[in-house]
């Protein structure tokens, strides 16, 4: 029963890593850049929601929607202003620029909200469900998290696979030159893609902040970025389905290791996991063999 419980708990947390991984994958697919500022962006938007809800008495749902909108704007502005100039340069430059943005966002959040710890109470209860006398490591809050992320996944699927806008976005990611020739505003599609990705990240931020008390701190979301990156790499960085599978596996592996080895080594596990995955399958566990044209 413990094992099953840990798997359930791992999946519930893994859903959040999947959302962050998805945010990274969306950006990677369109611009071939890993957005290291993602952790900072979702931290910042979560603080905005927290500020509205706890300091200005706003409704939780208002806070959530504002965080999503703020994430969208932050992502779009970051792409247009900071990333566009370094997009086609050496791969090192966007890495450094997004890290710079991460540092700035953390510093500004510290300036506004301080570097202490505070709590962001979730809308739903954190009390675990019971099956008879047996505790199940799953709460109404986690149920909400799973549903919210599933809804977002479904919406993204519909957008990309079933709408003309999604087709244009896929075209600009797949082949910018040809897309441009066919009249797609490629630059606008990239900005939109970054905005959407950051909004998905913002959702993950607000959701995870509620899972434990005293979570809110400008640096608290760093592990989420690394776990999300690990999940995205497991999925191959290129596939949204892989990102979700990667997120769930990272969640379960983490829950098992936390229970059976030690729960102080989370950050070390991500490093080892990343190392193992990249050494065994440098293109991700869920990737197909790349075809190389000679």
């Amino acid at each position: 029963m413990t094992f099953l419980n840990l798997v359930i708990y791992g999946i519930a947390n893994g859903v959040l890593y999947a959302a962050v991984a998805l945010a990274l994958v969306l950006i990677w697919r369109s611009t071939r850049i890993v957005n290291f500022a993602q952790g900072g962006m979702l931290m910042f938007t979560t603080f905005i929601a927290w500020d509205l809800v706890t300091k200005h008495g706003a409704n939780y749902w208002v806070g959530l929607v504002v965080a999503l909108l703020a994430g969208f704007v932050l992502g779009a502005v970051a792409e247009r202003v900071l990333v566009r100039p370094v997009e086609n340069g050496p791969p090192l430059n966007p890495v450094i620029v997004t890290l710079g943005l991460l540092l700035v966002l953390q510093a500004v959040a510290g300036m506004i909200w301080g570097n202490g710890l505070s709590s962001f109470a979730p809308e739903f209860s954190l009390t675990y469900y019971h099956a008879g006398h047996q505790v199940i490591l799953f709460s109404p809050d986690y149920l909400f998290i799973v549903i919210a992320v599933a809804v977002v996944l479904a919406a993204l699927y519909l957008l990309f696979q079933r709408s003309p806008l999604g087709l244009r976005m896929r075209a600009s990611a797949f082949n910018p030159e040809v897309a441009r020739l066919l009249g797609v505003r490629v630059g606008r599609m990239l900005t939109l893609g970054w905005g959407l990705a950051a909004a998905v990240g913002a959702l993950a931020g607000v959701l995870i902040a509620g899972t434990s008390p005293d979570y809110m701190n400008p640096n608290a979301f760093d592990p989420l970025l690394i776990l999300g990156f690990t999940a995205a790499v497991i999925g191959g960085l290129d596939s949204p389905v892989g990102a979700v599978a990667g997120g769930l596996s990272v969640g379960v592996i983490q829950a098992l290791l936390d229970n059976y080895v030690s729960n102080e080594l989370d950050a070390f596990y991500s490093f080892v996991l990343l190392l193992v995955v990249l050494m065994l399958r440098p293109n991700g566990l869920f990737s197909r063999a790349a075809v190389r044209r000679v």
């Binding site: 953390q106 510093a107 510290g110 991500s270 990343l274 440098p282």
Partner: protein, 349 residues
Amino acid sequence: MRNPIDRARWRRVPMVLRHGVPAVVGLGVLLAITEGLPAYRNTQLANIATEVCAVAGLTILTGLSGQISLGNGAFMFVGAYTVALILEHEPITHNGWLVLVLLAAVAVSAVAGGLVGIAAARLRGPYLAGITLALAVGIPVLPLYSHLQGPLGGHAGLSVNAPSPPNHMDFFRWQAWICLIAAAITLFLLANLSSSRVGRAFRAVRDDEIAASLAGLPVARVQILAFVVSAACAGLAGGLFAIVAGGVGPASFSLSISLGLLAAAVFGGLGTLSGAVYGSIIVTLLPTWSGDIASHVSLSDKIVNNLPQAVYGLGLIVGMLLFPLGIQGLVRRLGMIGRNALKTKPAGN
């Protein structure tokens, strides 16, 4: 060095002299300066010299061999804990012993760098950035593991017996001396390395891996070597840190340390050793400067504490967007303008 002939003649001076003389002269001047400095200035000097060791190693790795590392703080951690584990119970009684301890830090972190380098040689761009980021965050949590808490001291860390200065020399001055000498040796060795065959191999691999392997370079081995060199430098910096700070703890090696190293290398100009010096001075003194500004303009603590990090971040962004060559690039451009002005002057007369 104003015209190409002078420069060619300069190049003919043996490399050891070309890099050794400036290193020795610079070191001599700095060591002399420490005489009149108050204790906290000497500590600042020691901190800058420590940072220089680590940043110079990173700038060789990222600027010369083209591999990004966000995780050199982890190698500092390895070096620092190596020194702390040796010195925890044994006070340093002899200066030769101090040298050996620091060399042990270098050796252990070089091995760690080799292990990471083997993995890194297979990875490119964002993958490498991501895994070194995980390294930077993942290694410093090891002392918190319940089975390692005993030997590594958990959250509290380990204390280090600081080396006692020779002949009644001032304690802080002696610490500055240790770090300055270490930094001078590091810079000298790296300058030689950079203009040697190895340095050329680094550049060749950075510029075009396929061309480099066609020219007969073992690309993966060259990349691993670059990682070993930079990890060794970071390990030395970690060892110096342990000695100057008088102790080590997991909190001293947070992600911001690693990102600070990268910021310093980028500020100074990636791939240039003089740039590593400028960058280290800026990054080390920024917190002091922002404290000074704050005391004049009465800002809140929240703002003052976060100001240095905001400046690092903005510096990384602005540096990449506007001055990709960093301070050293600016210095060189100004030098060129000055040289041209000197050249045209006699013609005008």
